[in-house]
């Protein structure tokens, strides 16, 4: 039996993924991680706007957007705990566009050093990351 890895992705709204996968890669705060089955125990923070790629047991790959979270590996279970998580095909481009627009407008009227500006900038970055991911994946088939 091929070794596989149990992946759980948990957000405040729902548990997105809870199944066996072959591999996962994601961006941590200090660089990219690639997790294979039986990785050493690990705990790290995920980059504010990142994407994760899941390689399914059958070799297919899925990308998803994750933001503001943590990853921990324990007993061959990888748990991504993040505030938002969406599969690329679930991303609503119109909503993302609206968010992007809003963030840009907000930034235009703010002092570049203020906290508000940084917050708006983070929003913008999230919107852009989502958009990029959705575009890259548009046209791919649905998930199994």
């Amino acid at each position: 039996m091929a070794a596989d890895l149990h992946l759980r992705i948990v957000t405040p709204d729902r548990t997105i993924v809870d199944r066996k996968v072959a591999a996962v890669s994601f961006q941590g705060v200090d660089g990219g991680y690639g997790i294979l089955p039986h990785h050493a125990p690990l705990m790290t923070a995920i980059a504010q706007t990142g994407s994760a790629e899941i390689t399914e047991v059958d070799g297919r790959k899925h990308e998803l957007f994750v933001s503001d979270g943590f990853a921990q590996m324990q007993h061959n279970v990888l748990t991504l705990v993040c505030e938002a998580g969406e599969f690329a095909h679930e991303i609503d481009l119109n909503r993302v566009k609206a968010a992007e627009q809003k963030a840009r407008e907000k930034m235009a009227g703010l002092d570049k050093l203020s906290e508000e500006f940084l917050r708006a900038e983070a929003q913008l970055r999230k919107a852009l990351a989502r958009e990029m991911l959705a575009r890259r994946n548009s046209g791919t088939g649905s998930l199994g």
Binding site: P12, T15, P41, L42, A45, F70, V81
Partner: protein
Amino acid sequence: MANLKELRGRIKSVASIAQITRAMEMVASMKLRKVQAKAQAFHPYTEEIRHMIERLAGKVSKEGELPLFRAREVHTVGILVVSSDRGLCGSYNSNLLFSLKKIAEELQQGGKQVKFWCYGRKSYAWLQRRGFHVERFFVEPALDKADFGAAKMIAQALVEAFSTGLVDDVRLYYTRFQSMIRFVPKQEPFLPISSIAVGEPDDDRFELDFLLEPDANTVFNRLMPRYLETVVYDAMVQALASEHASRRMAMKSATDAAVRMNKGLKKVYNRARQENITKELLDIVGGASAVS
């Protein structure tokens, strides 16, 4: 009998009240179910965050910068109150607010200032009327529609108030949902964080050695705000569930009372009608025998 018409009017109005309260009861129980589903979906997230904190707590050095843990002398107490936006939910709000008043008065007698953060229109109006100092009233989004984002915003506001020194102690005050028929007002300490033991040795439950990147304190400091958000969100969901359950109960007893009243009124009405008919019959019979 002029009484008959009056009775008919009353029967009708009581029946329509019963209809309305029954509808409200059903809406409340549906909303309650929704909130419970929300709470359930949220549960794994809280568990994970808590679990990670426990796992990390042993690795964090106390010398590190953990300002949210530092207790200081308390001059001002901040209380976040979660109540409902609307009434007609039985004693839900009054239970909460009366015991809140007691707590606030005790604090004030102890020479402390009390500042309030309000979620829910009822608590805001109530506190304002009694001359308490309300620091901020959260209006958007309405509690009914509140999601994790709202909890995040509130947690941020509270953390900011604590770290700028506006308040030295933050508590949450809300109604905890215990069962469909039991909800109790509850006070919970929020800041400084005391519920987590930092620097305690690890539990055996975890794999002891693990990679930590970039380092324990960095991860921990990023984890803390998340944890606080879950605490606030939990309070909100609990309060919301209690509100709906309380409203459901209040509306159920209102419906029952209306139905009972309607029954009584109908009995009176029928008796009066019967009496009328008998009287009329007697009149007719009397008239007929007089003619013949």
